[in-house]
């Protein structure tokens, strides 16, 4: 446990960092003292970047991914297949899937998953936007790529209901044993899914 701070300015900075997820007061203090050991210009820059963060960050008006432009490079990419939309939870997921180099379609960032426990309902997510996109036409397939969790599955189900009358093809990313993992270390659920959802051996 940490006692009284020798300075109000120090305490303000520690409180700011300690408000971030996964950063306790002890770590926050370490971070602040690190910044104090850095050149003034660097710390100033850090501060100003955060100060204008919310204005500087904008979102693609089509897929709601973070973007510097009204329409993000992926949505406006000539090489992307705009008839396939991959529904993801957040920006990290888009970056992770882009990293695989396996996907050439476009995305739709929900901004989370339905989670009554955390007070997140369908209206808090970009689900209406997704339905509008599909109704607007030109979309053949919607791939649900949410986390394989209770919340993710609930959200998948909710979205499928909302899209049921659009006639769009709905798919969900494959669940099974992780590539490169020893079978004995796979959990029963994933292993079970991998057998039920087995694919033809080519």
């Amino acid at each position: 446990m940490i006692g009284e701070y020798p300075s109000a300015a120090l305490e303000r900075a520690v409180n700011a960092f300690a408000s971030l997820p996964g950063i306790g007061r002890r770590t926050a203090l370490r971070l602040v003292l690190h910044l104090l050991s850095r050149p003034e210009s660097e710390v100033r820059e850090f501060g100003s970047v955060l100060e204008t963060l919310k204005e500087d960050i904008r979102y693609c008006k089509i897929c709601h991914n973070i973007s510097d432009t009204d329409v993000c490079p992926i949505c406006s990419g000539p090489k992307r297949d705009s008839s396939t939309v991959c529904v993801v939870e957040n920006v990290q997921d888009v970056m992770a899937i882009e990293n695989t180099m396996q996907y050439k379609g476009v995305y739709h960032v929900l901004g989370g998953v339905i989670s009554p426990m955390n007070g997140v309902g369908p209206s808090d997510l970009q689900i209406d936007g997704l339905v509008e996109r599909v109704r607007a036409g030109g979309i053949k397939e919607v791939i649900l790529a949410l986390s394989p969790t209770m919340e993710g599955d609930t959200t998948n189900f909710f979205i499928s209901k909302r899209l049921s009358d659009t006639g769009v093809r709905l798919s969900v990313i494959a669940r099974g044993v992780a590539v490169g993992n020893n079978l004995e270390y796979a959990d029963e659920v994933s292993l079970g899914r991998s057998i039920v959802d087995r694919t033809p051996f080519v």
Copy 2:
């Protein structure tokens, strides 16, 4: 591995956080996205606190601890024994010792320890200041409370040399088995020290 960021503003913020010790790019991204989910005013406040951090933070001109005033509350505290000076590495150590409620003397914050590996020499620390304080008189005992590491021991030795002709009483914090720990779990060195440095049983 994280791929390309969808926005330059996002990347700037991630780079800022990733420059902090113990925070990788993945964690940095998570922190930035958390801030994006917070109210604008809160993020703005965070930024402005850091922007002026270096000016806002001042140091006690006697003990070099972080302080809002020229002389910190400890150095100017009427109840503190200014004839005993405890030499510590940094602000955290002062807070840790204050937490014990066992110390009524004052401090001297070195700002680190001698560490050739990290390019930290005696001149980078507040050692001259300490010698001056002792020479100025009124100090009976100097307690060396640096980390029980190679660097700490080197610094202790260097300080003792510098103070040898001042006639001030030098002591070092006790090293031995941690209170509440089972003997069998104590490392040999600490256990050895605890036997050599045994104290009379009262």
